[in-house]
């Protein structure tokens, strides 16, 4: 694949009909990395993708590769000249062309010789496991197959950037997992820089080198999957990545301990201890300190998986009564009502029954606290 050394997106802003779809989106993409724009609908991820592709004009900002500016809001290089590939959500295969001709489309535009085209197309189809389908038409193929043709059509041109706009959302669950694996394998083999857009955190976690979490046009957090999963930058990211047990709380005490903050939070009548790794300069740290000084409310976020059935090492536990149990095989999705009249969600690995009394505890490192309103 063609390579670049620096791909910089600076302060990309897109306004449309009075609304700001994308606000000051800045990102530097490394060659060969797989980066995912993740967020709910309307968060601007597709807008960002389309801006980078050049399919929609940007309002402010700058996109440059290797120092060459490809779009600064006033002048831009049109999409057909950027050597980027794009796979669309509904595949956008040309219905009047066979699979072979779909894949050969870009090659024909570049006026390559017939034998060379044939060689490249065959190789690309082999890569996506569609040998033998050359003469079929898109209408005769399943969703997954069409998806693979769309991918082949892009990679045959050896683009320097590959973009995928929610490519798996039209597939059924089993196919989605299969295709996800294929995409991963393909990326490892080819090493092409990839921007992937999705609302599915599972896909993002499985495929990405880095994830860009977005909401309402703003970037919420950029980081490796492990980071975004285990160390969310704010309540929105936490919620989106599967944290639950988001409770209103007040800060009883806050102690700074180097990089750590030790806090005592009170959720209604229940007291919890939290140990937060919010280093100096981290906005989360500043937010909590300010909240503590102002006596303001805060919010907790705890992963259901992190709630332990039984007492903790200091012997402290919360009593609760199971109100809902959904069997899911290895674990169950359980909701329980605690003594402070709050519902807690947990994922116990041993079976429980509705009405059963459980003693629950949480390690302080697993209790996240955010200043309220910082979303």
């Amino acid at each position: 694949m063609k390579e670049f050394s620096r791909f910089i997106v600076k302060e990309l802003t897109k306004e449309f009909e009075g609304k700001t779809a994308l606000s000051r989106f800045s990102l530097e993409i490394a060659n060969g990395e797989f980066i995912t724009f993740l967020g709910p609908s309307g968060c601007g991820k597709s807008t960002a993708l389309n801006c980078i592709a050049g399919l929609i004009p940007i309002t402010h900002g700058e996109i440059s590769i290797d120092g060459e500016c490809i779009d600064d809001g006033k002048n831009k290089i049109p999409p057909e000249k950027r050597s980027f590939g794009m796979v669309f959500q509904n595949y956008a295969l040309f219905p009047h062309l066979s699979v072979f001709n779909n894949v050969a489309f870009g090659l024909r535009l570049r006026r390559l010789s017939k034998p060379l085209i044939h060689e490249k197309v065959t190789a690309a189809l082999k890569l996506v496991h569609l040998e033998g389908h050359e003469n079929k038409f898109p209408a005769q193929m399943s969703g997954g197959e069409q998806q693979r043709v769309a991918i082949a059509r892009c990679i045959v041109l050896e683009p320097r950037l590959l973009m995928l706009d929610e490519p798996l959302s039209n597939l059924d669950a089993k196919l989605r997992t299969e295709m996800r694996n294929e995409l991963h394998t393909l990326h490892t083999r080819l090493g092409v820089t990839t921007i992937y857009v999705t609302h599915d955190q599972q896909e993002a976690l499985a495929l990405s080198d880095r994830i860009v979490v977005m909401r309402l046009g703003h970037i919420q957090q950029v980081g490796a999957p492990g980071q975004v999963y285990a160390d969310p930058a704010n309540l929105f990211v936490a919620d989106f990545m599967g944290f639950k047990n988001i409770w209103d709380a007040s800060l009883g005490a806050l102690r700074e301990n180097g990089d750590m903050l030790e806090a005592e939070v009170t959720v209604k009548s229940m007291k919890l201890k939290a140990r937060l790794r919010y280093p100096q300069g981290d906005p989360r740290r500043d937010g909590l300190i300010a909240a503590f000084k102002a006596g303001a409310a805060v919010k907790t976020a705890i992963r259901p998986e992190d709630i332990h059935v039984g007492r903790d090492e200091t012997g402290v536990s919360m009593r609760s009564r199971v109100t809902l149990m959904e069997y899911q095989g290895q674990t169950s999705y359980v909701s329980a009502l605690m003594e402070n009249d709050t519902i807690v969600e947990l994922r116990p690995s041993t079976p429980v029954r509705v009405g059963e009394t459980l003693e629950l505890s949480i390690a302080p490192e697993k209790v996240f606290v955010f200043a309220a309103g910082r979303e």
């Binding site: 999409p79 057909e80 794009m86 669309f88 009047h96 898109p138």
Partner: protein, 285 residues
């Protein structure tokens, strides 16, 4: 969708079937029968012979084709770039479409009648053309071939435009984006992606437009010169039927009209199939 016609299905269709048979199929077959019959009731080919051997009658085919084919070509070919431009919608779309359907709603008679004054030697159009010095004397638009052609374009263009616009709008917009991403310029995208997908729509549009143009009647009479240069085949049929009261020859002429329309339509469909091998689906992925 339920399969089969049990339980009242046939009953629902019956009135429509009866209607179509009585008021369309039967008259058509009766006309066919009449065309092969003499006024006394004997089977004969003389009606057709009379039509084809009389130069004055047979030339109506050529006269009508001379008007209908260019008009249809103009309508369809002009409609394509306009529809292409509007394919993603535009401001004022409703207003534009409103103005376009006015001539359609008002009908040929009014448009033809109005053209007599507006495009007459002293009408506004000639005044304008002379004022901006395109021509020096008044141009003859009425009571000749040009008037009829223009009226067919005025009536036919909106229909062709709106129809092709519908087809183009129905093409998945992502196809254009995909084409761009693969390196195609606007022109290349049009030639390699959009136009091939528009071909079925263009073909149907051509057929419908041609059929309308070929059966032109009121404008050929009012705006043209039915006694000569614009004596169209529909007028000939009319004259035989309601002026000379020879229903046999009139029916024969109607059958010839239908046959020619059929030949042209078949030709267009053959052309379309040649261009559009393979895919049948144009839908949104």
């Amino acid at each position: 969708m339920q399969k089969g016609l049990k339980g009242g299905g046939i009953l629902f269709l019956l009135p429509a079937i009866v209607f179509v048979v009585l008021l369309f199929v039967y008259p058509f077959l009766y006309g066919l029968y009449l065309s092969f019959t003499s006024p006394e009731g004997a089977p004969t080919l003389s009606n057709y012979a009379r039509f084809f051997t009389d130069w004055w009658e047979a030339r109506t085919i050529w006269v009508t084709l001379k008007i209908a084919l260019p008009a249809t070509l103009i309508n369809v070919i002009l409609a394509i770039p306009f529809a292409y431009h509007m394919r993603h919608g535009m401001r004022g779309e409703k207003l534009i479409t409103f103005f376009l359907i006015i001539p359609l709603t008002l009908g040929t008679v009014l448009v033809s009648e109005g053209m007599l004054s507006y495009m007459g030697p002293n009408g506004w159009l000639n005044q304008l053309l002379q004022a901006i010095a395109i021509v020096r004397g008044p141009v003859r638009f009425t009571h000749n071939y040009w008037g009829v052609l223009i009226s067919l374009v005025i009536q036919g263009f909106p229909f062709a435009f709106l129809m092709i616009l519908g087809y183009v709008s129905g093409i998945n917009p992502d196809l254009e984006k995909a084409s761009q991403m693969l390196g195609a310029s606007r022109a290349q995208t049009f030639v390699r992606v959009l136009f091939p997908l528009m071909v079925p729509g263009i073909a149907i549009c051509f057929c419908l437009n041609f059929v309308m143009a070929f059966s032109v009647f009121p404008s050929a009479v009012l705006l043209g010169e039915p006694s000569g240069p614009t004596r169209v085949i529909a007028y000939a049929a009319y004259q035989w039927a309601l002026e000379k009261f020879d229903f046999n020859i009139a029916s024969a002429i109607s059958m010839v009209m239908a046959a020619i329309e059929l030949v042209v339509i078949s030709g267009v469909l053959v052309w379309r199939n040649r261009i559009y091998r393979g895919a049948s689906m144009v839908g949104k992925g």
